[in-house]
């Protein structure tokens, strides 16, 4: 309170403002290190063929950093008020807590909501184009196809503008009106490559899918089926003995209950005896004669066999699924060829049922008979999905979710990169502002603001004055020229700006990441 009381004195206003500036410089610089390093990692991830999951994971960091950026901006105002004595210390802590509790989820989920709502509002054409371009972009990133009219480099050696362009190309390409026709020629090739990526390379697929699944089925046979089948066989084989035992017990029961034998039961007692037998769990027919050993034994034996069969079938269903059915006593060759096992095997491996599986494929044979036929079938499926009508990508269409996912995947990189770069530039300007607060007296506030705004404009506009191999390429030039509406022109300009700005910022961001964060790539 003593300190705050002093701050309110006019003669002491310069000192607290300097302190405020120093605190904000430190906070903003800390934030900038994170933001710029993240920006470099985001470009690496989006521009070097990372999976959608990796992009999504890195983007989660991005949304946290964006939320921190907004919290930091608002905290500056609260801190300034505290230095000016307008807020108590408890008030500052309370307000900061409330503000952070509101702002963080708002920004963190806001970006996600923005992306989801854009995906939801997209139409069938956009989703279908996005699906096409997502596959094209993946093949392009993996160097499986070349892009006419521009050289983007390959892999790790790709330059920043190349990375930015590759990250943005799926979105940019999806805005081209007849992209499906233009990409139609390379689509079969891309579909096949996509299928290969989906199931993995042949050797990997052979070892990790085919051999692993075969081993699982082999274990299933030895550990579950064989014991189950043998238990069943022994029970069935012993059915005759059980029937004899039951008959003997029946005879003993007759002797105990009146000294009868099956052949001397009085006519009047026969139905009573029959009921007694039925109550003892032997469902003999209504016309059964108490001396009819054959029927008695048959009923008992059938009962034993049926129970054994039920237990066996229950075991089969537990191991293979509710609808599975398998005969007992199958040798390994018959077991592996049975319909139920084939179904399970195909389900495990995701190999189409039209591709025949066997337990003796060596690698070369496996490739010829299983791997490449599977790739062909998957590629045809992908091609079919790609050539599905636009209506199928609309809401309630068969490809709705696939289209939405593709659209989300193509808009995430430009949005994430755009927000990250804007956040970085704005906070660079803020950092300049705080630095100028130390250098320029408060009475020259307008001059400080003019310098900050000027710097901000320079940072925003300077990239547009530059040129690089990507932005001056025939493809980018034609793409820009091909957009007619102002909105499309603005979008094109924004994408070009990101590509140009990354040429300038990426080296700096990458250095900051390496120097301050030890090369942390935000993927962990």
């Amino acid at each position: 309170m003593q300190k705050n009381a002093g701050l309110k004195q006019p003669g002491h206003t310069q000192q607290p403002l300097r302190l405020y500036a120093v605190i904000m410089i430190l906070l903003t610089a800390g934030y900038l290190v994170m933001e710029l390093a993240f920006n470099a990692s985001l470009l690496d991830v989006a521009g070097q063929g990372a999976s959608p999951d990796e992009v999504d994971h890195v983007e989660t960091f991005g949304r946290c950093i964006s939320a921190v950026a907004v919290i930091l901006a608002l905290f500056g105002t609260l801190l300034k008020n505290w230095f000016r004595g307008r807020t108590s210390t408890m008030g500052l802590i309370f307000k900061t807590g409330i503000m952070a509790a509101i702002v963080f989820p708002m920004i963190f989920f806001g970006e996600q909501i923005l992306i989801d709502s854009l995906a939801k509002q997209s139409n069938g054409v956009q989703r279908r184009n996005a699906y096409w371009m997502a596959l094209m972009g993946k093949s392009l990133l993996n160097g499986e196809i070349d892009l006419d009219g521009v050289t983007i480099g390959t892999g790790e050696n790709r330059r920043p503008e190349g990375k930015a362009f590759v990250a943005l190309l799926p979105f940019w390409g999806s805005t081209i009106k007849d992209v499906c026709q233009k990409a139609g020629q390379v689509m079969p090739f891309v579909a096949k490559k996509t299928a290969v990526r989906a199931i993995g390379q042949p050797e990997n697929f052979y070892k990790k899918v085919y051999l692993a699944s075969l081993q699982q089925i082999h274990d299933l046979y030895n550990n579950k089926y064989v014991p189950g089948s043998n238990a069943y066989a022994r029970t069935v084989a012993g059915a005759s003995k059980q029937a004899d035992r039951a008959w003997n017990e029946y005879k003993e029961a007759l002797i105990i209950n009146g000294g009868y034998t099956p052949n001397n039961i009085p006519w009047l007692l026969r139905s009573k005896v029959r009921r007694m037998v039925q109550k003892r769990g032997v469902p003999v027919p209504k016309n059964w004669h108490p001396a009819d050993r054959g029927t008695f034994r048959r009923v008992v034996a059938n009962q034993v066999k049926e129970k054994a069969k039920v237990y066996f079938n229950q075991g089969v269903r537990r191991a293979l699924g509710k609808k599975a059915s398998l005969a007992p006593g199958l040798s390994w060759p018959l077991f592996i060829k049975s319909a139920a096992i084939r179904r399970v095997w195909h389900d495990k491996t995701h190999i189409p049922e039209t591709v025949a599986l066997a337990d003796n494929f060596v690698f070369a044979e496996f490739q010829q008979k299983v791997y490449w036929p599977t790739v062909e079938i998957l590629a045809k499926q992908i091609e079919k999905q790609l050539h599905d009508a636009t209506e199928q990508f609309e809401t309630s269409g068969t490809n709705e979710q696939r289209g939405k996912d593709a659209y989300r995947a193509v808009i995430v990189p430009p949005i994430a990169l755009g927000f990250s770069m804007l956040g970085g530039i704005v906070h660079l300007a803020k950092l300049l502002n705080y630095l100028l607060m130390l250098a320029i007296p408060p009475c020259r506030k307008n001059m400080r603001l003019a310098l900050v705004v000027g710097t901000l404009l320079v940072l925003l506009l300077a990239p547009m004055a530059t040129s690089n191999a990507i932005t001056s390429s025939r493809l980018v030039t034609n793409l820009k020229a091909g957009t007619a509406s102002p909105l499309h022109k603005l979008r094109g300009t924004g994408l070009v700006w990101i590509v140009k700005a990354q040429t300038i910022f990426y080296p700096m961001n990458s250095s900051i990441r390496d120097y301050f964060l030890g090369g942390y790539d935000f993927r962990a």
């Binding site: 006419d148 009219g149 020629q185 081993q215 043998n230 054959g294 059938n302």
Partner: protein, 268 residues
């Protein structure tokens, strides 16, 4: 008095009606019998009589009912063949020229079976070598028409003896018939030589197991199927499958994609 007179007056008519009814019933039963069990592919003249105990019995029309009773009116010595209980054993003597045929119906529930035990202990090992002292279960096989079941024992000596101890069937009655050795070829497929059994120490002649129909060779391998239905009892005890041994090292076989050069995507 009046009633008695009327009764006497109409007695021949009543007797005639009863006789006609019985004849019709007998004809009907015979037809039913034929429908149930088929007609033996040998005629009555080839069926030989054979001795059971002290009496000659023509077994052509001998039936076993569900109660294990022989009820045929043609049975001359029911006391000998009376199978009152399944435990009671009766002796059948077969001559060298005859075979014993049990004639039953093949049912979905399973096959009838007949437990036949050689009469004298010294024959037991030679006649039924694979079995223990208590004999052997024999499963009868479908006949050529697919409806009947037949099984046969082929005695090798003139004084071979058997007795039937237990009969199982899901369809009764069963029919016994003794056939001439030559004529049984009409009934049974030509016999194949049975397994030769080591001659016993008392140097009795070597016996052969009865010839089995060639049409069901897989059944001949089973020496002692259980009396109860064998439909599911032939499930083997399985051994674990041998360890998988597929080589994992390999050369990748590339598949031509139709284009050796990278395809080029044109977007402008």
């Amino acid at each position: 008095m009046m009633d008695t007179r009327i009764l006497i007056k109409f007695a021949p008519a009543i007797f005639g009606l009863l006789l006609a009814g019985c004849t019709t019933m007998q004809t009907y039963l015979d037809k039913q019998d034929q429908a149930l069990y088929g007609v033996l592919p040998v005629n009555a003249q080839t069926v030989q009589t054979w001795t059971i105990g002290q009496a000659d019995v023509n077994l052509e029309k001998t039936y076993l009912t569900q109660k294990y009773r022989i009820t045929s009116k043609f049975l001359k010595n029911p006391a000998t063949l009376y199978l009152d209980t399944i435990e009671k054993k009766e002796r059948f003597n077969l001559s060298e020229q005859t075979v014993l045929v049990l004639h039953g119906r093949y049912g979905a529930e399973g096959l009838p079976a007949c437990e036949v035990i050689s009469f004298g202990k010294r024959y037991m090992q030679t006649l039924l070598p694979a079995q223990n002292e208590h004999g052997k279960h024999l499963t009868f096989r479908p006949s050529a028409n697919g409806q009947n079941l037949i099984g046969a024992f082929e005695p090798a000596t003139s004084n071979d003896s058997f007795f039937v101890s237990t009969l199982y069937s899901h369809h009764w009655p069963l029919k016994f018939a003794s056939l001439n050795r030559e004529d049984r070829n009409l009934y049974l497929p030509k016999p194949s030589p049975g397994p030769v059994i080591d001659e016993p120490k008392n140097s009795m002649p070597v016996k052969r197991i009865a010839a089995q129909p060639a049409s069901t060779p897989e059944k001949t391998k089973k020496k002692s199927p259980p009396a109860v239905s064998t439909a599911t009892s032939n499930i083997k005890i399985l051994a674990p499958a041998p360890k998988l041994d597929l080589p994992t090292s390999a050369t990748v076989v590339s598949q031509k994609t139709g284009s050796e050069n990278k395809p080029v995507l044109r977007l402008d």
